[in-house]
């Protein structure tokens, strides 16, 4: 059979099942007595087996079959859950995952050698108990018999009747099609979709039992019923459906006849099952009208018509969402432009209308942003397994706590945040948490605690990786940094402890004394930092020796539209994201003092270094342009503050962030650009790079 059209579906469903298999096995390991988990795992394995067999991937099918055997023994308590078994099953799952990915990349399925795993499984099975393992797999119809009762004959609400009547008046006919899929059919939803598609081409599908979204979610047993309005002959309809594979039976009935019978039956008040008309000669009991009238509420049937064409959810290509977001961005730019026109020309009517429009665009923006939001759990999900594996490898005892996995983040951030998080976690596991004996010696519990916590903080999402391990020794960091020539001894001596610890985020700094498999693969913390900063975020660390460390990642909720303060230096305009601004102050030249050759100002008793933006950015300046009156934008990065000296403050504005493109990628200090209301381009400053 032509499997290409199912490929995507196969891949996605396989991934889902693999994920849940992973979860299940992890839970099982923690609580081996949990039989419900076992059932779930079994179902996953079974579905995987079925899907891969249908798609012709025999390797996966064989391996899952072996997995099933052992799972069945576990399920029936013939053998006990052991670490070895879970380990082996997890390895199998990994192997399958690799195979599925390879298939997804258009490669062959046998990219990994699974003979070892298979042998091990077999050994475990035969070592486990004598009863033949073959029997259960085939017999278990593990894809839980659908909860739906046997599909019933059609009911026709008044609305349906109206529609059908109208159709008949205009010379069309309505058919009731009852489709039964073969018992062995695995991708039932795909089949039903194909049937629907085929019917859609012949005419208008006006209803189905069960409704379309249930069909999509496989909430039906092996048969379903559809009513369509068409000008085609019943024969054509039947052939069209029969052309789809894995269809066991198709029965086409003329709805007019059915309706007549229903009415007659109602009149007689007796459930006399009239023999089916010609095409329905082999009609099974379920098309008989007698079951129809009572069972389902007509109100539901009335709405079915609408629901039919749009399911509850749609999968949308992320690119389309990006385009949508861009368009909303354009709209915002133009709105701002209009607002300026309104202000310049004092057009009250325009301003008022724009206020209305402002509400709409704000809502639109929120909705689009919401659509792009994905719970961070999607990334967190893969970590328990990783932590478990690493813990074993390192012979440590570590407990991972995950909090706030429901916190939502923009899809693009989710895609990018996985690697930095993984790196931080690995660091905590490898360098943070001590060996159990060492922990005991320090008077700490043998089990180390590692936490992965996400939560909202204002307009940001904060993700923290915490551990109660050894902490980072600022002295060690100082010494290392001096050794590597990154800072001078003087600088090191004058550096506060927390600043010293932050040195780990500098490029070329890796404290790992020995390179291990877990961390220290040359990917340093600087990579973590640059990745997070490229997402508009910020990473910081708090640590105490022997008490542990907290790595705190702060990410903006949205990447696309932010509030910013526009400032002017000479003739150039720059935007500073509002999120990093503390306050703005107006000072004179005399307020600037020098400390150790660095210019500072004193703000509410705090000494703040200042940065003259014009000098940093080499802004061309004409003589005499400098003013005595200067504006300072006080920005903060974590705990640190700095004052950015600019010539003028223009005002706060909503800006749409645009990238500068590949040609200008990787520029320091500039993180992007935006188009202003007047059509000019202003660059967005990367505050963290300035400090």
């Amino acid at each position: 059979m032509d499997t290409n059209q199912y490929m995507e579906m196969f891949l996605e469903e396989s991934r889902e099942h693999l994920d849940s298999l992973d979860d299940g096995l992890m839970t099982l390991e923690k609580d081996p007595s949990d039989l419900s988990v076992l059932n779930e795992i079994f179902r996953n394995a079974h579905t995987l087996k079925g899907m891969s067999a249908t798609m012709g991937y025999n390797k996966i099918a064989e391996l899952t079959h072996d997995m099933e055997n052992i799972l069945d023994l576990l399920r029936n308590e013939k053998i006990a859950v052991s670490e070895e078994i879970v380990d082996t099953l997890l390895k199998c799952k990994d192997a399958i995952e690799q195979m599925v990915e390879s298939i997804g990349d258009g490669g062959p399925e046998d990219v990994v050698d699974v003979s070892e795993e298979a042998a091990k499984l077999k050994a475990l099975v035969s070592g486990g108990s004598a009863p033949a393992p073959a029997a259960p797999a085939a017999a278990a119809p593990a894809a839980a018999p659908a909860a739906e009762p046997e599909p019933v004959g059609m009911e026709y609400s008044d609305t349906d009747r109206d529609v059908i009547k109208q159709a008949q008046d205009s010379g069309l006919r309505a058919f009731h099609i009852s489709v039964t899929l073969t018992e062995s059919c695995i991708l039932k939803s795909a089949r039903s979709y194909m049937v629907m598609n085929a019917l859609d081409q012949l005419g208008d599908v006006i209803k189905s039992v069960p409704p379309a979204e249930d069909l999509e979610q496989e909430k039906f047993d092996h048969s379903f019923d559809v009513v369509i309005i068409t000008d085609a002959e019943p024969k054509t309809v039947e052939e069209a459906v029969n052309a789809i594979s894995e269809i066991d039976k198709v029965v086409v009935t003329d709805v007019a006849d059915e309706l007549k019978k229903i009415d007659e039956a109602a009149k007689k008040a007796a459930p006399a099952p009239a023999p089916a008309p010609a095409p329905a000669a082999k009609a099974p009991a379920k098309v008989e009208p007698k079951k129809a009238p009572a069972k389902k509420a007509p109100s539901k049937a009335a709405t079915t018509e609408k629901k039919l064409k749009s399911g509850q959810s749609v999968r949308v290509d992320i690119e389309k969402l990006d385009t949508l977001l861009n368009l909303v961005g354009e709209l915002v730019i133009n709105k701002v432009r209009l607002e300026q026109i309104g202000l310049t020309h004092r057009l009250t009517e325009l301003t008022e209308t724009l206020e209305q429009m402002d509400r709409v665009t704000t809502d639109l923006q929120t909705v689009v942003m919401k659509v792009r939001m994905v719970p961070v759990g999607q990334v967190f999900n893969r970590f328990p397994r990783m932590v478990r594996d690493i813990t074993k490898e390192l012979n440590k005892d570590i407990n991972l706590t995950i909090e706030g996995e429901e916190t939502e983040l923009d899809r693009t951030v989710i895609d990018e945040i996985g690697d930095p998080l993984m790196h931080l976690l690995r660091n905590s596991l490898d360098h943070g948490i001590e060996m159990p004996d060492d922990r005991e010696a320090k008077g700490k519990p043998r089990t180390g605690e590692v936490g992965l916590i996400a939560r909202h903080e204002g307009n940001n999402v904060v993700i923290m990786v915490t551990d109660d391990g050894a902490g980072i020794d600022p002295e060690v960091i100082r010494r290392k940094a001096v050794e590597k020539g990154m800072i001078s001894q003087d600088e090191a001596d004058n550096m506060s402890d927390s600043d010293a610890v932050r040195l780990i985020f500098l490029p070329g700094f890796s404290t790992s004394e020995k390179v291990t498999d877990i961390s220290g693969r040359g990917v340093g913390m600087d990579v973590v930092r640059s990745k997070i900063e490229s997402l508009g975020g910020h990473v910081d660390v708090e640590t105490k020796i022997d008490e542990g460390s907290i790595f705190k990642i702060k990410l903006p909720l949205t990447l696309a539209i932010i509030q910013a303060l526009l400032v002017k230096v000479a003739k150039e305009m720059y935007a500073i994201p509002l999120g990093s601004i503390d306050s703005t102050i107006n000072i004179t030249q005399e307020d600037i003092k020098t400390v150790q050759n660095k210019e500072v100002i004193v703000l509410r008793g705090q000494i703040i270094p200042i940065i003259r933006l014009g000098n940093v950015l080499n802004v061309p300046r004409e003589d005499g342009e400098e003013d005595d009156d200067i504006f300072v934008v006080v920005v903060h990065l974590g705990e640190r503050k700095a004052g950015i000296v600019v010539d003028h403050l223009i005002g706060q504005q909503e800006i749409v962030i645009k990238t500068l493109g590949k040609l200008l990628a990787g520029l320091k200090v500039i993180s992007g650009a935006t188009v202003l209301g007047d059509g000019r381009v202003a660059l967005i400053l990367d505050v963290s790079a300035l400090m």
């Binding site: 861009n326 961005g329 354009e330 730019i333 150039e572 305009m573 940093v616 950015l617 080499n618 802004v619 061309p620 645009k658 990238t659 500068l660 493109g661 590949k662 040609l663 200008l664 990628a665 990787g666 520029l667 320091k668 200090v669 500039i670 650009a673 935006t674 188009v675 059509g679 000019r680 381009v681 202003a682 660059l683």
Partner: protein, 153 residues
Amino acid sequence: MAKAEVAPIQGEVQVVAFKLRDEEYGFDILNVKEIKGLTDITRVPFALDYIKGVINLRGSVLPVIDLKKRLGLQNTEYTADTRIVIVKSDDIEVGMIVDAVTEVITLDAEHIDASKVVDNESNRFIRGIGKENDRLIIMLNLEEIIGLQDEAK
């Protein structure tokens, strides 16, 4: 990619011809997206010297290359004829500042001399020299000019 030989020009090519100082240059018309009058260019600090800045092209931000600077030619003042030619190579779109756009002409491949006539540092930017009657049109190698592979780092 950049180092691979540039595909030889075959058959007829349509060329957007433009002026830099007194010489005439050309881009393959298939690379040219549009031609735009001079607009506000925002300077980008820390960018390479031949990148003049960025412009707003209907809501998106586009880098602009000072083509004369890129080719090592002497600078001239902008005039009313100065144009920005928006070109696209692979998926990179950039603007090129030129002194004037002259016309779109069709050159026969036979009239394009692909051997490197001009021997200096900047000849890697040149694909060939087209002859049309008395005019010489220097065909430029867009990929090299955008130079993403080597210098942009």
